[in-house]
Symmetry: C2
């Protein structure tokens, strides 16, 4: 074992503290609204963690628990109400939703400037076009982990394994925005190792336990593991940690790597959204014009 461990818990804690300090300096407390549909125990735990850390960061916690039998129109009404509520800066619709609901159309209903998960078409487009916007939390957290370890991104060859909407694709965009040369691999890739072995940075987000082994990694490379799987031998990621830690220069553990960054980035996105809303309120007051929804540009992390 030679690799330096990137301690996601510590980096996330530092980020949450920084968010809390900035929140304390604001005139108005930012608010995060969470919407939970049904009684799925894992979802309930996730939402309860988000709410707890939101309160710890000094933000306003607004929660809506809806029955598993709620209709599409009822969820739409809740989203519309939160979109209009000036005390709500961020809206988080906990996924997955019960099968009878149309999740993509509900996500699209969230005001893009309150879409702190960065999941709407508008925010995906802003990311793709390199414009300011709210970025998806997990890949954004990965960039912060890389920065915390002072990994040089400009000109580095980064290989992203996986091309999901939530992680792989936005991860590639965020790395590209930081001037890395980026390769996206996936299930159709022939000879995965030939690509990853060339990489200075590997982000494993394929959803396949221990997919990345020693033979996939160039000595000294940085390996970020987005996967998390419950196996008989305990939790593991998409990376075979024991095998790869002997070769990599930096590596994230599972758990305690990327995971804690997701909620910390959610809080930072809520603060970013609040700053955006505050500046458009100010603009409204001083200029008498309407809120500058698309004009006022607060950069959410990676531009």
């Amino acid at each position: 074992m030679s690799a330096t461990i990137i301690d996601g818990k510590a980096v996330a804690q530092t980020l949450r503290h920084r968010v809390a300090q900035e929140v304390a300096a604001l005139d108005r407390r930012p608010g995060l609204a969470t919407i939970l549909v049904g009684e799925d125990p894992a979802s309930a735990i996730y939402v309860s963690n988000k709410r707890k850390l939101c309160v710890e960061a000094g933000m306003r916690d607004r929660h809506r628990l809806l029955s598993a039998q709620v209709s599409q129109a009822e969820v739409e009404d809740v989203i519309d109400e939160l979109n209009l509520d000036p005390e709500v800066d961020g809206i988080l619709l906990q996924l997955p939703l019960p099968k009878h609901l149309d999740a993509p159309s509900l996500i699209e209903r969230i005001d893009p400037d309150k879409d702190v998960d960065g999941l709407t078409e508008t925010n995906a487009g802003r990311l793709a076009l390199g414009r300011p916007g709210l970025r998806p939390c997990t890949p954004s957290g990965v960039i912060q982990l890389l920065d915390s370890a002072a990994v040089h991104l400009e000109g580095a060859h980064a290989v992203v394994v996986g091309r999901s909407d939530l992680v792989g694709r936005p991860q590639a965009q965020l790395l590209l925005a930081r001037d890395a040369t980026v390769t996206v691999c996936h299930r159709h890739t022939r000879d995965l190792a030939s690509h990853t072995r060339d990489a200075d940075i590997v982000v494993a987000a394929a959803g396949v336990p221990k997919l990345i082994g020693a033979e996939h990694i160039k000595p000294g490379a940085t390996v970020i593991d987005v996967g998390i799987h419950r196996t008989e031998g305990g939790l593991c990621g998409d990376v075979d940690f024991d095998a790869v830690a002997g070769i990599a220069g930096h590596i994230t553990p599972v758990p305690g790597g990327v995971g804690p960054m997701t909620i910390a980035t959610l809080l930072r996105n809520t603060l970013t959204a609040a700053n955006l809303h505050n500046s458009s309120h100010r603009e409204t007051r001083t200029n008498g014009s309407g809120p500058a929804r698309d004009g006022v540009a607060v950069t959410a992390g990676q531009p």
Copy 2:
């Protein structure tokens, strides 16, 4: 010289004929509106070509010529009017605009379902999320050229050189959607040749004359040249054609390669938009509900 030439003029003509046949079978003629601001001679020629081929394909041609001194608000009014006009299916705002106008905000004002250039945040987001939408014309034309030459995309390693909003980034997304392993290179890439020499497909969209030489290409690879430059020795692309044609398996010429595909794809996008609008009109008539703007999903080429 061993490479097979991909004849963009012929492929574009075939595509335009196919569009014309589909247009002839419709109850309602699709309409394309072009907006030209000022007297730039190159822009005037581009717009006039688009209008001519639009009419040849049997579509309705609507043109608005605005003075170079037009105000932002006046252009906004023209866009708003065309957004509402049921005879207009596609709106093309010819770029570049005079410096005093805010081009990105004018582009965002175009109804995403009439944005036949695929330039709005919404269409960029739909592409990034793999959802149906209107795709940018040039990279979409490149995919059709590859298909015309029966180049196998699934599992192929495609290297895109350049990361512009108009070509490089959407090109990478379109290739990824077709299951290629995709690498994006750019000015910060170290050792460009080490990436391109590994590629089955190279798309050169860097805007640098003859950037890609023999040393960049694997024998038998497919080379698509998006560049076009006026030099003392005549027109050339981003690829050193004479050097690369001896090595590549397939290659596009400049001119007569990617160029003609752009307008042909614009016409196809206008037809796609018209089909989208027709189906939402039908839905309105039969269901009495509002137009299904985001619901009715007509796939624009590559999903």
